[in-house]
Amino acid sequence: METKYFTISVYSENNVGLLNRISGIFLKRHINIESLNVSKSEIKDVSKFTIVVFTTEDWTRKIVQQIEKQVEVIKAYYHEDDEIIFQDTALFKIASHLLFDERQIQNIIKASHAQIVTVSRDFFVLAKTGRRHEIEDMYHQLEPYGIMQFVRSGRIAVSKEAMPIRELLAEIEEKQHL
């Protein structure tokens, strides 16, 4: 079976131990987490894990089944890249004098649509949001001039198709009141 990137979206109750449970599911099967992001979701008190893996669809499906089995997980989905809108964000910290000494840097900033977040006497910070490969490109262009610090976030994604969690929760609540 073909291996590719899958993005897993997990809606869950806010629970301290859940991250441990979820990461254990990957650990047990030796499946590397390419990136992991935990945030709030569109629903109050519901968290969202966005996990990227590079594996087969079969494994991804089994992992999603195991994730959904966890008591605190409301629902989990997996998507291929063309089914989602996704972005990574990176921050580059670069010495300020380079802005003036190296004309090319200004061109890189313009061409990459990166944002200057802050400028101080010693350093400035660029933020770039985009696809992973765009960030990689920018990294390679800036690298020769010296990057003081670099960090990239995990992928965040929304799906083109609905993930109808609100409806699901409403349905559950209705059942509970029966």
Partner: protein
Amino acid sequence: MEVVNSKQTQGAAQTPKGMKISGAEALIHCLLAEGVDLIYGYPGGAIMPVYDELYKFQDRLTHILTRHEQGATHAAQGYARVSGKVGVAMATSGPGATNLVTGLADAQIDSTPMVCITGQVPRHLLGSDAFQETDIVGISTPVTKWNYQITKASEIPEIIAKAFYIARSGRPGPVLVDITKNAQFDALDFDYTPCTSVRSYHPLPVATEESVEAAASLINRAKKPFIIFGQGVILGEAEEELEAFVEKSGIPAAWTILGHSALSSDHPLNVGMVGMHGNYGPNVLTNECDVLIAIGMRFDDRVTGNLDTYAKQAKIIHLEIDPAEIDKNVKVDVALLGDSKDSLARLLPKIEAKSHPQWLKEFEEKHQIEYKQIIERDLYPTKEGLTMGEVVRGINEASGEKAVIVSDVGQHQMIACRYARFKQSKSNITSGGLGTMGFALPAAIGAQMGAPERPVVAVIGDGGYQMTIQELGVIYQHQLPVKIVVLNNDFLGMVRQWQQLFFDKRYASTVMVNPDFVKIAEGYQIKARRVEKREDLNDAIAEMMASEEPYFLEVRVEKEDNVFPMIPSGASVSDIRLS
């Protein structure tokens, strides 16, 4: 207060609603409200406030002091498995808590409802490497269905209610609740409401009508249909539905070791055991059936052998409550995702009444082959040495097939599962998924207390017996009429068998130098007997079965017997070996 709780007896009568009480006392009231009247455990510093309350409530809540916390978990498991109720085990923090891990893992893989309660260092010391602090929530995460650390007294009622609900609902499993010592001491306004739902947890899926229709249509067209059932039938209390389904459809049915006893052993359509040491017919014919109906079983690798050659010719129907089991090991054609009782009941009116005499004959022929080569020699040996099989046969005969048989892990377990005959469900208690040596003796304690009216026979190897032998102390102290049978071959027999077959007889560390087991039992003032000759066997078994006190029987069996049939690991079910 009303307690919505079908499986356990209600005990909430004197619950002090709205009163200020300590967390420790609140815990006791929660347990009583859940119908708990029996706990297995071991005290220590971090759980002392709870033990102090147990002392005060001893007329309503019995605490059994096992001699090791592992024993407490297995006793709770044995209790749960015979009674269908939730078993409860309790331990202190640190080493007490870590000693629960094996039992938790066993209960997790065998879907046994159990709640474990551990004490923990006070909240302000968490994370400081305090005396007997261990991150038991972290440690137990992969081996629990759910776990939680309580750090405030006010959390106790809600969390304990949730713990019991999660442990027993859907596919059951173990839950661990860790309670910091301050939460045990602090006061709370007590109010207990049983948990009946958790928003993110959907334990009871219901099979779709289409899946039921699709399954019925496959079954009705099948020429060689075959049923394999597992513990899901017992956990779903679907024994009657299974029997009705088997009888109407005329389909031969085989069991996994955890499914054993869900269908009476003398039922004409009960064709025996599947798996590594299962029967010849059901294993080989798995690869010849045209429709395979798997009911409450999970296609464990000890059942399927090599998956690439497992039932490839068959359409597969899977009745299963846990969505994560669907297509996990074996891709199925129709999944009935729901409770086995409901799924079977809905399937029943849609299937045609049939019989399959030709197909059944194939099972009978295979049985004859196995009988001649293996079963007859196991059960009615003519050689001098005693066989494990004849001991199990003796127990069947002396008990009228009515005993609960609790087996440990190894050759004797496979022999016990193969040859034990049952008329009643929830009778075969064994560690299936984890294969935990040391399970049987404490599990038999729990089984005896969970089914006090039934004879309970523990069948144990000389190796596994010594892993939890200290629990003889419990049997002695409480005069539990458990019948302990040690089948002593002076070897770690199952490992020795593999060494003989696959490692050129290099018996590395499998020779056992054993103590005088009879003397040890006598040290606990347990009536004990040793049998070395066939002519004494039946008499000894009869004496044991008649005993109303604890009884220990050591049978010196042939040292180097092997268990057959056998599917070597990685081989196909059709390549099962008869020798």
